[in-house]
């Protein structure tokens, strides 16, 4: 973690404007996350949450705005270079290599690592025991929730400094969700910034340091997890009461 400037956010996207070639989806979104922080993004479907995540990761060109990592401008960097720079991302859909075995999926997570990955893999297996059992099975043959676990496991394998998760708990059972959140707390405690989109919003805001509410491609609310949970308007419109 050399060269980290202490004051500013680890990862930040400011004034992000852009879309998929047609009308803009993001109309000036600001998101930032500091080292060791868990940041949760919530919002209605189609609000642009996933788009914002993709923009942060360079999977989608921005018309305006800039993305910085540790203060350095990375707006022009390709996704795989962002991985090298220490970012990790679990997309919302298409997040496993369906034809590769569970173990290979995890190995792909450690693709850029030169050191021994087996320890991290053991860590992932202990977090998601079912994966160890199924490690030779192609990920495409797993149940929906198991796939989700593979996806998160793959990202953990990178040991990123900025970990971005797009709805990591969609389709996973309550017990696994709890364990996952526990793990996320553990990981955050070791330093990385964690940015998460969640529809299981109350549980997520519960563990979050800060939260954003996005709606129609704009920042709507922002605050600590507890503040957002306490705001009746936010609760009613975005968290399901």
């Amino acid at each position: 973690m050399s060269g980290q400037d202490t004051g500013g956010p680890l990862l930040s996207g400011r004034g992000m404007i852009g879309g998929y070639g047609g009308a803009d989806i993001l109309h000036g979104v600001n998101i930032e996350a500091h080292a060791g922080e868990i940041v949760v993004i919530v919002g209605p479907n189609g609000a642009g949450k996933s788009t914002a995540m993709k923009a942060l990761f360079g999977m989608m060109p921005l018309r305006e705005g800039r993305v910085t990592l540790r203060g350095a401008d990375i707006t022009a960097l390709s996704p795989q270079d962002r991985v090298k720079a220490g970012m990790g991302f679990v997309p919302q859909t298409g997040n496993v290599f369906a034809s590769m075995s569970v173990e290979e999926n995890l190995e792909m997570g450690g693709f850029l690592r030169e050191d021994d990955v087996s320890e991290t893999m053991e860590m992932v297996f202990s977090l998601f025991p079912i994966l160890k059992e199924k490690r030779r099975q192609p990920a495409g043959e797993l149940s929906g929730g198991q796939r989700q676990q593979v996806a998160v496991g793959r990202a953990l394998m990178t040991r990123p400094e900025a970990l971005m998760l797009d709805e990591p708990t969609a389709g996973v059972s309550p017990i696994v969700m709890d364990e996952l959140f526990d793990k996320i707390l553990d990981i955050a405690a070791t330093g990385p910034a964690i940015l998460m989109v969640e529809q299981n919003a109350r549980q997520a805001l519960n563990i979050a340091d800060r939260g954003y509410v996005l709606a129609q491609g704009e920042n709507r609310y922002e605050g600590t997890g507890a503040d957002l949970m306490a705001d009746p308007e936010v609760r009613r419109s975005f968290l399901g009461g």
Binding site: Y20, G21, G22, A23, I25, H27, Q216, G217
Partner: protein
């Protein structure tokens, strides 16, 4: 947030299609002026035929995502129909082998009947399988026993010019629907067995089946004279020399300032073009109507996601079969038209590059899923296929002119000149695709 229409959903400029068609027409006119109207009309005629084939492929691929790489086989079956419909019957051959053939057909029918009966009576299991296999074997032997001598007898009848059963001596225009029907029948049989396959696997299966069709046509002389070819098929239009012999025609040609030879060619090809255009017009109207109806929507849904379509009550197998048969029928019609225009049926001339892949090129360059696109692709690629040759020669000539005369390099380029055709064809194809990766007239999505 504004309504989110994206490029993909936005229809391409309304003018694009008409402009491209106008450009195509201009190309043909250019050929007419520079190389003669006979050349232009002959390109037009084959363009029309190619367009129908491309339309057929587009129906199966663009509508339903069926990767049919057996176009050649269906085109050849259409051609066979022309022989079977239009050629005079060979009475001697029927006398020599007709009975035998009938007998073998009967043997097949009886075998099938027995097998059906037996299978209905017996319980599922290994025994039933063996009995069926034995029955098939016995049936095959019986059929062959009647078939082989009959075929020998037929093929012995005046082998140099006949040696086959001949046809019905009906007007050859009837061969067009007949060709469609024959191709449709074959497609039905093939579809029943192979349509369950996933795209690439289906592709190789259809490719294989088309090779088998050609092998049969090449080797079963009693049916279509095999590699000995059937030539001199009757025509639906007058012969040029008859026109040239008609004083009336010559006079009229002279009035137009044309020489009778050229005028007769133009008249004949013009008539053909007219007939082909009518067929294409009807077919494209039917195809457009279908595509823009709920049927078309359903087909696109199936193409997008078969699992979901099945869960939404669509009978995937039936629909696939339906489109496959329809598309193949179109290819069959075009195949019959082409043999009519050529005036001969030559099984050995069916090769996959020309009759399958070139048609696919037409569809993709034109725009898969788009009827007007495929038709345009048919014209354009055919045009390129024919004109690539003179263009290539011209280009080689240019290169040679730059090299020292009589040098080895110049000789080498000169010798290679005919092969410029291929390079040119490739360049035209790649250029067209580069500027319109989704086809010249792309599929309209999101109505």
């Amino acid at each position: 947030m504004s309504a989110g229409t994206r490029i993909a959903a936005a229809p391409a400029s309304l003018w694009r299609g008409p402009l491209l068609y106008a450009g195509m027409a201009a190309l043909l006119i250019g050929v007419g002026v520079l190389q003669g109207w006979n050349v232009a009309l002959s390109i037009l005629c084959f363009g029309l035929i190619s367009a129908i084939m491309a339309l057929g492929v587009n129906i199966a691929w663009g509508y339903a995502g069926i990767f049919n790489v057996g176009v050649m086989g269906f085109a050849a079956l259409g051609g066979l129909a022309a022989v079977l419909v239009a050629q005079p019957p060979v009475a001697e051959a029927w006398a020599a082998g007709g009975a035998g053939l009938g007998l073998s057909l009967l043997a097949v029918a009886v075998t099938v009947a027995i097998i059906v009966l037996v299978r209905a009576r017996m319980a599922r299991g290994a025994a039933r399988g063996w009995v069926t296999a034995a029955l098939i074997g016995a049936g095959y032997a019986a059929a062959r026993a009647a078939f082989d001598p009959a075929v020998d007898a037929i093929e012995a009848v005046n082998p140099a010019s006949q040696g086959y059963l001949g046809g019905l001596a009906a007007p050859i225009v009837l061969a067009w629907p007949a060709g469609g029907l024959l191709a449709a029948l074959a497609a039905w049989g093939i579809g029943k067995t192979a349509l369950g396959l996933r795209s690439d696997y289906l592709a190789i299966a259809t490719l294989g089946i088309s090779e088998i069709v050609i092998a049969v046509l090449k080797n079963e002389d009693w049916l279509s004279r095999g590699v000995k070819n059937v030539t001199g098929l009757p025509r639906p239009v007058p012969y040029e020399i008859d026109l040239q012999a008609s004083a009336d025609f010559v006079a009229r040609a002279a009035a137009l300032g044309l020489d009778p030879g050229e005028a007769s060619g133009i008249a004949v090809k013009g008539l053909y073009a007219l007939m082909f255009a009518v067929v294409l017009g009807v077919l494209i109207w039917l195809a457009e109507r279908a595509l823009n109806s709920p049927w078309g929507r359903m087909m696109r849904a199936i193409r997008d996601n078969e699992t979901a379509a099945a869960a939404m009550g669509k009978n995937i197998t039936r629909r696939h079969l339906e489109t496959f048969v329809l598309g193949s029928a179109l290819v069959g019609i075009a195949g019959a038209m082409m043999v009519t225009f050529d005036g001969q049926f030559t099984p050995a001339s069916y090769n996959p590059l020309r009759f399958t892949f070139l048609i696919w090129v037409m569809v993709i360059v034109g725009g898969s899923g788009s009827n007007w696109g495929s038709v345009l692709g048919g014209f354009l690629i055919w045009f390129a296929w024919v004109e690539a040759e003179p263009l290539g020669l011209w280009l080689a000539g240019g290169v040679v002119a730059l090299l020292p005369e009589g040098s080895a390099a110049a000789d080498h380029v000169q010798a290679g000149a005919p092969h410029m055709r291929m390079i040119f064809m490739g360049v035209i194809l790649l250029t067209a695709m580069r500027f319109a990766p989704r086809g010249l007239i792309p599929e309209r999505t999101g109505r």
